[in-house]
Amino acid sequence: MPRLLHMADVHLGARHRDLGDAAARQRERQAAAFRRAVDTGLAERVDVALISGDLFDSNAQPRRTVEAAAIELRRLTEQGIRVVLIPGTHDCYEAGSIYRVFDLRLMAGLSEGSDLLTVLTPDHPDVVFGDLDLVVYGRVSPTKRASRSPLADFTTAAEGRARFRVAMIHGSMLIPGKVEQDDVLFTPGEVAASGLDYLALGHWHSWQTGRAGTTSWTYPGAIEPLAVDQDGAGRVAIVDIEERGGRTQVDVREVVVGRTRFASLELDAAEVVSQGALVARLLGQADPDLILDVRIGGIAEQRLDIDEDAVSRELSGAFLKVRVRDRSIAALPDGPLPPPETIAGTFVQDLTARIAAAEARGDADSAADARAALQLGRLLLDDPRQVDLI
């Protein structure tokens, strides 16, 4: 009765363009999460480790990244754990695929004929592990964008080589109204018709699991979250397949290996009295594993002028990354305005008219600029010494 470790979307060497100087650290954290996933496989004494695509973030990864991955895979194979992986959409099996350029099997110290590490490709679509009574199919497209569903006309009904049938796909399951287009797309109906016991999926970065017909399927999600909306990331699946009462039973449980957390924080500018207060408030949520996206909205008090970079710098040690975006709208002056016969009054009138005109034509940026200018002008005219221009 085979026990599987199922992971996907490791994205080694990924770019994190919104993380700035924390991006390199995040890449290291992804590698660490991969290591923990391997540790999980060893601790759970799995028979086979499945990596359902996008082990690498691109086919242009340097040799050392591939070697580092091979070292981790070797830890599994040295314990007799078979590793089966498929190319994904980032490391797709095109001409210059990383799996063509580098021989993972050799890099993991295995001989050419060893079945301890198998990369399933269109040329090598399945592998049978007789001792486990298990066949693993890799439904891999030779291109990034599949011309047809990987499960089109696929059925294991006639499979006679092994009792337990598992397939690996890197693509999206079609969900009407939610997921209707993707590079690789298949339908729940096709999954149900496949006759598989377990479908090890990759491509979605958050944990999803379900059943179609007699087939259990799981998206374990990215091994570390890559963006703010990936709350279900950072997991691997432990899958037990066994036969009970003449029927194949599949038990799937999740194990958390990722540590990075993304969080977004919406702040009302009215609650932020000063930059120092903002820093103090955010320090209250300090977490070295947290990537915090702070967005200040609402109407900003007149004297609030947040230096986003400065705040991020001040908090850099307390978080994995803090990004502060001040999207608040400058408050229009309250109370009596300066008389229109004054420079300040004319200034206010002019900018107020500009704001109204910009808002009328839907030019939010110009309106925001004009609001900020109005606020700044009011502050400067009120008392230029109290305004710190940066």
Partner: protein, 919 residues
């Protein structure tokens, strides 16, 4: 709007103050620390300060030492109808009530709107920049060309500090952002350069990565191509091998076929030979036959010779006599026996058988006999031998003779026999037949040899092991086998050599392609190895580009905002100034005519900068107002300044507050300014805050504020903070008094509120309550607490105030017109200047201590030491420095006329044409 009554509770030094300003000009007079500025603050609080001000703001407003919440009530009259405005400042519990035109509002926002509507003033700061004329505004107007227009612009700015600072700071920021210099580039340039650098590096990195991918793809393809060519090469090699095999098979078949045909011919020849061998004329081989024939010929010749010889012999005897030889053997035998017997006898004699002698004798005899017999026998034997030889010779002679015939006959017989035997052997009857046979046999043999030769020719080069027929069959089998194998090779069998050539050509081509592929693979591998680009590094660059872009967007946005603010501010200023210029031109002609006693009637205002020119009938041209006399210039400025107030307040005519703006004027300037105040008071309510009594005569009411009485004479002295201002020299009497009182105030704040101590001469319009006395009770007596407040001290410091205090109201009209009306002042200040640098600004400084937070004095530093704060304020604001003062002191003893511009010497030197001007 005109204030009819102001009631202040718990605001700074006024624990409880009621004043009732006149509708026109009200002079609010008092020495330093009397709370004049607090009166202004109270009005500002009533009109503009939020009643929900924070406790920190309240703390600064509260009467020192008091915890009571400040409150201000303002009774006013607006367009003939009464109203009131009450504000209770209690933090969040603060309240406001405005009643005007029978309408009562307690909504702070609405009250603010109504106040703005009543006064035309929007804020406290706006009031200060418009309806409040501060003491420094009229300083240096004639010296600084820009001062007049800047100050006028400030009054229409609607801003506390005017627009200059705002514009300057915005311009600085725009420059800081926009600067394109390479040595000190602006923020935008720096970020753009950084972004450009990062982008260029990223482009290079991405290109290198793309190249790496291409190289890797090329490597993979080259690898695949090489593997494919390896396979093709193996296939081509197989084809070549097959071709060669076909060729070999074909050759083998051809060879086998050739051999077969030769062997088949050989077999036929062999058959013919065999047949010919069977058809020999003689069974005897030809050579033998030839030898036999030859022998027969020879024998036949011999026979013929012998026959001839025998014919020639015929007389030979038939027999020969034979001589018998004697026999010698018996003699010899006898001799031997006798000898033996002799030996035996000797032996017997020796052994004793016989007597010795006998035996020996007999033996010897016998031996002699035997010896003799032996010799005889030997002779006989020699004779026998000789006889036999003779006999043999004889017989031989006979035989020879006989043989002479018989031998020849025998020879003949033998020869014939031999000949016959040979003929028999040859199978021929005679010699002639033998020759014929030989001839035939020779011909037959030759024929066979010919066939053999042909056979040998046929078999030349053909290895024959054993039977020719078997060889032939093997060759046939080999040929068939090769042909069958060849046909099994398919297409190549038709023309194996051509097929092999084709395969070889293909092989060579494939080899060349493979070599090329290997080279390409090597090159691709080399390119991959040489491309040291690191995807992580490129990722970092991309991430840095994004961060830089984000920073740049932020900077650009800030710059847009700064530039927009600046441009709108510039436009607003241009528009407003232009409008103000037109307004002033329309409204100031009459003022100018009045101010100059009709000398100038037309004014021209520059709409760019509010600079003034007046029409000079003498010059028949426009002249800048700076060329007018100083006094006239003051008035023109004030007229313009207040004209602008009318404009910006849209002629709502708010109360005007003058914070001793003429303090530095000489008498003449002060007189003219006072006259202007009176004119102003027709349209505006004017509150004139001053320490001097010289405006009393033009006032509709004079409100005198009490002198603070507390003095620092007893008790522990607070720790002093060293103050740098001491560098100005020893304190003047005024400075000493002020600092003393300031220090005492500082002490007093630690104890209890300082009441408004009643003075011996109560101001007529000041309604002091009894509360002051009640509050003062627990304190030391006024004289003890404020010894400097004793009349003598006050007189010394403020001689003019002292005289006014004695006679409330407007002083004699001559006091302002005649300089000699200020003897005590001159004397007092003369003393002060003699003793050292005076503190002429101390009055202003002490006022500054009453300024609300954010004012110059507050900004100058914390008032840990009142003296320090005061000195800082002096340095910051007072233009009448000790240098200016010393000049004024030498020419004009009046302490108020400290403006450098007031020097007559300087005025005279400005040009003779000014002499004719008024002022």
């Amino acid at each position: 709007m005109r204030i009819t009554k102001l009631h202040v509770q718990g605001v700074r030094r006024h624990a409880d103050l009621d004043i009732s300003p006149a509708p026109g000009l009200t002079v609010i007079r008092g020495p330093n620390e009397a709370g004049k500025s607090t009166v202004q603050t109270a009005i500002e609080m009533a009109l503009f300060r939020k009643c929900t001000s924070t406790s920190r703001e309240l703390q600064e407003l509260r009467t020192w030492g008091s915890t009571d919440d400040p409150s201000v009530r303002l009774d006013f009259e607006h367009e003939g109808r009464p109203g009131h405005l009450v504000k209770q400042f209690a933090g969040a519990r603060g309240s406001v009530e405005l009643s005007v035109d029978g309408r009562v509002s307690q909504d702070p926002g609405e009250v603010d709107e109504l106040v703005t509507d009543l006064t035309g003033l929007a804020s406290e700061k706006f009031l200060r920049s418009t309806a409040s004329v501060r003491h420094h505004e009229l300083v240096d107007l004639d010296k600084d060309e820009a001062a007049l227009r800047d100050r006028l612009q400030q009054s229409i700015s609607g801003a506390d500090q005017g627009t200059q600072t705002a514009r300057r700071r915005l311009n600085e920021m725009v420059r800081r952002y926009r600067s394109e210099g390479t040595r000190n580039p602006g923020l935008l340039r720096r970020e753009r350069d950084e972004l450009e650098r990062l982008r260029a590096e990223l482009v290079r990195g991405e290109a290198a990565l793309a190249q790496l991918e291409r190289d890797r793809t090329a490597l993979a393809l080259a690898h695949d191509r090489r593997v494919e060519l390896d396979t093709r090469l193996a296939r081509d090699q197989d084809a070549v091998d097959q071709g060669e095999r076909a060729v070999r098979l074909e050759t083998s078949a051809t060879d086998a076929e050739a051999r077969y045909f030769r062997l088949r011919q050989a077999v036929e020849l062999q058959g013919r030979i065999t047949a010919a061998e069977r058809d020999h004329a003689s069974a005897m081989p030809l050579a033998e036959l030839r030898d036999a024939a030859k022998r027969v010929q020879e024998l036949q010749f011999q026979i013929q010779e012998l026959e001839v010889t025998l014919e020639l012999r015929g007389d030979l005897p038939e027999t020969v006599e034979v001589v018998k030889p004697p026999r010698w053997q018996p003699v010899a035998l006898l001799a031997m026996i006798v000898g033996i017997a002799g030996l035996l006898a000797i032996g017997a004699g020796l052994t004793g058988i016989l007597p010795d002698i006998a035996g020996l004798g007999i033996g010897l005899v016998l031996l002699v006999v035997g010896g003799g017999l032996g010799v005889w026998g030997a002779r006989m034997a020699r004779r026998v031998h000789s006889v036999r030889i003779q006999a043999q010779l004889q017989e031989a002679e006979i035989a020879r003779r006989l043989a002479g015939r018989s031998l020849e006959e025998e020879q003949l017989k033998e020869t014939r026999r031999e000949r016959d035997a040979l003929l028999v052997a040859m199978g021929v009857p005679d010699v002639y037949a033998a020759d014929a046979l030989l001839e035939r046999e020779a011909a037959h043999g030759a024929a066979i040899d010919e066939i053999r030769a042909e056979l040998r020719g046929v078999l030349a080069g053909v290895t024959v092991n054993g039977d020719l027929a078997a060889e032939r069959d093997r060759a046939a089998a080999e040929m068939d086998q090769s042909r069958h194998a060849l046909s099994g090779l398919g297409g190549v069998s038709s023309d194996p050599a051509a097929a092999r050539e084709r395969a070889l050509r293909t092989l060579r081509q494939t080899q060349a392609e493979r070599e090329s592929a290997i080279q390409e693979e090597g090159q691709a591998q080399g390119r991959v190895d040489q491309n040291t680009i690191d995807a992580d590094h490129v990722s970092g660059l991309a991430e840095s580009v994004d961060a830089s872009q984000e920073r740049l967007v932020g900077l650009e946005r800030r710059l847009r905002v700064y530039e927009l603010t600046l441009s709108v501010l510039d436009a607003a200023e241009g528009y407003t100034v232009k409008k103000a210029a037109r307004y002033l031109e329309e409204h100031m002609d009459a003022d100018i005519a009045r101010i100059t006693d009709g000398r100038y009637k037309q004014v021209q205002v520059n709409e760019q900068d509010l600079s003034f020119r007046v029409w000079s009938p003498e010059r028949d041209d426009w002249i800048p107002v700076q060329q007018l006399s100083q006094g006239t210039l003051d008035q023109v400025y004030l007229a313009a300044r207040l004209g602008l107030v009318r404009q910006v307040t849209q002629e709502r005519n708010p109360p005007l507050i003058f914070d001793d703006p003429f303090v530095t004027f000489d008498d003449e300037r002060a007189r003219r300014a006072a006259e202007l105040l009176r004119d102003l008071a027709r349209d505006h309510q004017v509150l004139f805050l001053t320490t001097s009594d010289r405006y009393d005569r033009v006032a509709d009411a004079v409100i005198e504020l009490p002198v603070p009485l507390a003095r620092d004479v007893d008790g522990p002295r607070p720790e002093r903070v060293p103050v740098s201002v001491t560098a100005t020299g020893g304190p003047s009497p005024v400075a000493a008094a002020t600092s003393s009182s300031m220090a005492s105030l500082a002490d007093a704040t630690d104890d209890a509120p300082i009441p408004a101590a009643p003075r011996s001469t109560e101001p007529v319009t000041t309604a002091w309550t009894d509360q002051g006395a009640d509050v003062r009770d627990p304190q030391p007596t006024a004289d003890e607490a404020f010894p400097a407040a004793a009349p003598a001290a006050v007189d010394a410091a403020f001689p003019a105030a002292a005289s006014t205090a004695a006679v409330p109201g407007w002083p004699p009209a001559t006091s302002l017109d005649d300089p000699v009306a200020w003897p005590s002042t001159a004397s007092a200040w003369g003393t002060a200047t003699t003793d050292g640098p005076a503190w002429p600004a101390s009055a202003a400084s002490s006022d500054a201590t009453d300024d609300p937070p954010g004012s110059v004095s507050a900004g100058a530093g914390a008032a840990t030491s009142a003296t320090g704060a005061e000195a800082s304020a002096t340095g910051a604001e007072a233009p009448w420095t000790s240098t200016a003062w010393s000049t004024a002191a030498s020419d004009r003893p009046a302490p108020w006329a400290t403006s450098p511009g007031s020097s007559e010497t300087e005025t005279a030197s400005s040009g003779s044409w000014r002499d004719g001007l008024p002022g």
